[in-house]
Each structure stands twice: as structure tokens, then as C-alpha cells.
Symmetry: C2
Subunit: 333 residues, 2 copies
């Protein structure tokens, strides 16, 4: 294992400190926790948005703290849910009296710990609601999940719910729009090479020299098929077909795209994949209203990419295109 780090036991600590050192005007730590929050508290009267989960998916989630997205992010150890007491600290940091929405990726540990934290916060008088993102169409049930996994589509939930909260929506409204996104956002990925969890020191799985896997999870959970390496066109078409089995897009429908690198895939290849995908959508007369491309929900140094499609209506498109100013994602300068 070759990684740039100091002490494996201090990895998350060092990362969080390194983030605050890099973005001292945007981020601060809640002392003695793994919670990052805004440097300046949002005005009271805004619903707070909190997300988080295991580390190793950076910039998710702390990179999305800022205007128009999240108010706090809770980091667990690599690929491990943060504990309820940490999530509780995140909720407290984000609450300005108008309640907090938790955006949880659908993994058993995350769901359990975030919901336990919600109960603890409710007991302290904070109004908390939560939504669970399960955008990965690859498999039902998996190593760490009952039902579908939550992957890169989560970033679009942050974006749209964050815009609604920034505009002053009430907690119940923010929750409803987040649920609307979750219903319409579908993702799937391919992996070309695995990642290595630092504490284990070994790749989570292996792939042959000319082999790839379709539908791998962001923690290396098994996908649905191994095959020899496909072209960008074949990958775009395979992932689109599986996603569209659920979305059932018709000519004239509008979508937002997110093409996501898993960690080690050059941006060049993501653009080539986007070229194939956008040609395919054009052929089907599906209208792309927005494309976000880069590394947003990574899996350490896994090589591969995922495609996310969100079917938008006027409300979702408007919120999606609203400005945002976070560490990792900025829009509307």
C-alpha cells in the first residue's frame, strides 16, 4: 500500500485539520468531534442540512459545506459510519432553531446511527427529519445495505435541498423536495481497479488486467457483472439502459447529469464518457439541462466512474441552477 499519510490511526483527524487549514474562512471544526461546519454560522431562520458517513469519499461530504448546500458534515473512519454522538454534534452545529434535515446514504450503519442521533436531538428539543438516498440501481441489498445503496446522486440531493433551505423553505418543505429528488435520481458505476482501505492495507477485491466490473459500490461492494474492458460508448449505453429501466425517460424529458470519477480516473476519460453519454441522450431526444463532471463521490483511489441522471421538472431545475458557494462546488459566480 502506497499512500500519502502519517499515522493510519490519525488519518481522519489529519484530513479534517488539513481541510480547515486549506479553507479557514469557510470551515471550522466542532472541537473534540469529527464534525466540520461553516466558519460563520448561517443566519438563524434557515433549516440546517447535515450529511456525512464514512471517510474516503472526499470531497463528500465536508466539501459541500457552504451557501446553498450543507451546514455540517460528520466524518466517520474510512468507509465506516460515524457514531450517533458525533452525528448529534453535527445536528447541534447546524441547528439555528428552524430544524435540521439529515441526508443519509442508504447503508445500514449510517441509517442506524443517523436515526439514533435524530432521536437524541429530538430529546434535546431540536426538530430533526431525515431522508435516505438510494440512487444506485445496480443491486438490491449488498454487503452493507438493505435495499439500494446511496452513491453520487446524494450530491444532487445536497444541491437541491440546500437551495430550498437557502431560499427559506420550512423543514417539511425541504424534506419533501429532497424526497422528490431521491425518487427521480438514479446512478450506476463501473470500476476498473479497486481501492485499498488504509487500515487493511490490501485492495478490497481484484480485477484482471483487461477486466472491469459493472455496478461496483463505492466501498468496493460487488457489482452485477465482470466483463472485459468496454469502450466509453458501451459503458455509457450499459449504465444508461440500467438507469433508464427505472427512470423511463421519454423524448422531450429533461435531465441533469452528474459524471463522477471514483478517484483514480483522469478527467480526460470522464469527458470522453460524457461525450458518449450526451450523444446517446441527444439521439433519444432527452434534454440535458445541466452537467456536473469531476470527482464528487469518490472511493479512495478506485479507478472507474459513475453516471447519475436526475429527471427534473421546473422546480428541481430551478433549485439545481441556484447559486452555491461551497469548498468543492461553486455555481453562479
Amino acid at each position: 500500500m502506497k499512500k500519502i499519510l502519517n499515522d493510519i490511526d490519525q488519518l481522519v483527524e489529519d484530513m479534517l485539520n488539513g481541510m480547515v487549514a486549506a479553507h479557514p474562512n469557510e470551515l471550522k471544526r466542532v472541537p473534540n468531534t469529527t464534525v466540520l461546519t461553516r466558519k460563520k454560522s448561517p443566519e438563524s431562520g434557515k433549516v440546517g442540512l447535515v450529511s456525512g458517513g464514512g471517510s474516503g469519499h472526499e470531497p463528500a461530504h465536508a466539501g459541500f459545506i457552504g451557501d446553498g448546500m450543507l451546514d455540517a458534515a460528520v466524518a466517520g473512519e474510512v468507509f465506516t459510519s460515524p457514531t450517533p454522538d458525533q452525528v448529534l454534534e453535527g445536528i447541534k452545529a447546524a441547528d439555528t432553531g428552524k430544524g435540521v434535515l439529515l441526508i443519509i446514504k442508504n447503508y445500514t450503519g449510517d441509517v442506524m446511527n443517523f436515526e439514533m442521533a435524530a432521536e437524541l436531538a429530538e430529546a434535546e428539543g431540536i426538530n430533526v427529519k431525515s431522508v435516505i438516498v438510494n440512487d444506485d440501481v445496480a443491486v438490491e441489498d449488498s454487503s452493507f445495505t438493505t435495499g439500494r445503496r446511496g452513491i453520487a446522486g446524494t450530491v444532487l440531493v445536497h444541491k437541491i435541498a440546500g437551495a430550498a433551505a437557502m431560499r427559506g423553505a420550512e423543514l417539511e418543505e425541504v424534506k419533501l423536495v429532497a424526497e422528490k429528488v431521491i425518487k427521480q435520481v438514479k446512478s450506476m458505476g463501473v470500476s476498473l481497479s479497486p481501492c485499498t482501505v488504509p487500515a487493511s492495507g490490501k485492495p478490497g477485491y481484484s480485477l484482471g488486467d483487461n477486466e472491469m466490473e459493472i455496478g461496483t459500490g463505492i466501498h468496493g461492494e460487488p457489482g452485477i457483472e465482470r466483463t472485459s474492458i468496454m469502450t466509453a460508448q458501451e459503458i455509457a449505453s450499459t449504465l444508461f439502459e440500467k438507469i433508464n429501466h427505472d427512470l423511463d425517460l421519454a423524448s422531450g424529458d429533461r435531465v441533469s447529469l452528474l459524471v463522477n470519477g471514483l478517484g483514480a480516473t483522469p478527467l480526460m476519460e470522464l469527458y470522453i464518457l460524457n461525450n458518449s453519454l450526451s450523444a446517446l441522450l441527444k439521439e433519444k431526444q432527452i434534454i440535458v439541462v445541466d452537467t456536473i463532471i469531476g470527482e464528487w463521490m469518490t472511493s479512495l483511489e478506485m479507478s472507474g466512474a459513475s453516471i447519475t441522471l436526475l429527471k427534473v421538472d421546473d422546480e428541481l431545475e430551478d433549485l439545481l441552477l441556484e447559486k452555491a458557494d461551497t469548498v468543492a462546488f461553486k455555481r453562479g459566480v
Copy 2:
């Protein structure tokens, strides 16, 4: 070799089309060239900024097209300089009558082809000046270079010269501020694993299971030393010492940092590296006025990172912090 692509011969073409498809309101292609330029021409009366070089370093350089940075970028084949006729097209696309500054990374092919293009443009009546970035302190002379190589520090030249041009500076002034940056910006990197140029199909070099190289170039050019894997602290300290041999920073000096991933290194590790580096600078009472962290000047899927330090004065700091709105880099929402 496992990469997401269609046809190796169409790689740059597919990438450029994929970029325009992703950013249709920001970028357009100059037909029948490998030039990307702004979708909307900048107002006349602004000095044009053009950069480019071999592909494989994305988001450099086309990702930096937009307000406050570049007006056009010229893409060559992977790790291969674009030809003079292509660069000429870039110059024409960026010129609004106030002249064009070429920002060239110091590689023999780039310098020759960009300067030949400048002559061709001058012959057509366009006022062209150029600057050559040579920020890599690792080695003098290398596989493709006489003198020092140009690497990630180039992005800070784009940023600062771009801000000056946006504010209405004349060509000569923009050139002077670019040269001031070049004088004060120093970089060096480490590689943990190599990249594979698609046309060759094989990694450019090999490193042992526990081995890293200090000072590798962004095309895989040899560095100065191979060693067993160092900690983040050791990497930060080794690179800083070499950089500071040139910059000669003293307590109270102000710097801007750029921590750059080479392609396959998780953002987590870049933040850990930044944590070590910023602690070291704090100890030396060097003031960090700005930190830019992520993948800005990559080497396909090379694993590793580079550190760039720019010693700033009031003028450079002010221009650095000016707003920018490009595909890959946004500031000042």
C-alpha cells in the same frame, strides 16, 4: 492498459467534444481545430490570454477558460505540443484587438511551437507576447526540456495574469505581472505510481511496491531520487526545503499554496499533505494567504502530488484573490 475511451486516435477530439457537451454555456470549439474558447467572446478591449500544451493534464488548460483566467486553450495530443497552426487559431480566437499573451510551460516543443505561432500572428497584425513558466525546482534540463520544467505553478500564472487582464491592464502590464509570478512561484512533486500514455499502452516507468520518486515531471520525466515511501510530513518537508532553497522565505513572508493531485491520489491524502505542510509553514511563521487544493495539473492517472508556493506581495495577493469564473476554478461567488 485500462482506460475509458473509444478510439485512441480520436481521444483528444472526443475529450474536447465531451467538454463542450458538459459546459455548453461556457465553452465552444473553434471549428476544425483543437482550440477551445469562451462561448461568449470577451468584451473587446481586454487582453487575450492563451495557454495549452499536450493533453493529459486536465483540467489544464481548457478548464481554466472563463472570466478572470484564460480566453482560449490549445490542446495537443497526449503529452505532445500542439502545432503552430493550432496555436495560431487559439491566438486569433482570443484576440479582441488589444493583443494576446501566451502562457507557455517550459518544454522544448511547446516553446518552439507557441513562439512560431506568435510570429505567424504578428505577421497577421496581432500583437502577441509570451511568458514561459519554469516553476519545477526538481531538475535543470530533462527529457523534453532545456532548463526547468513548467508544472502546476502555471495555474497561478493563469489566475493572476487573468485577473490583471480582466481589470483592463495593457498587454505589456499583463506580461510583467505574469513574469513577476513566474519569478516567485516554485513547485515540486512526488510520484507513487506511473501513468500510461494511451498510444503507448504501457506505463512510462515503474516503481517498486514500497517505492516513490521525488521530483518526477508531469510527463513521467525522471526525478532526482527514488526512496521508500515517505510519510506526509517527510514529503512536505522534503519538497518545502527544495522549493525554499530558491524562494528563501523568512518569518513574516506571505505565500499562496497550491497542493496538486497528479491524477490518482485521493483528495483525502492531499488534505493530509496540506495538514503537514501548513503546520511546517506555521512553525516557520510563514503566512499562508490562500490555499488551492485538488487536481489542477494532472498527469493522466499518475499517483502522487506536487506542492507549489508563490511568494506574494500586495499586488499578487490582490490579483490572486480576485474573482474568477471558469469551468474548473471559481472564486468569489
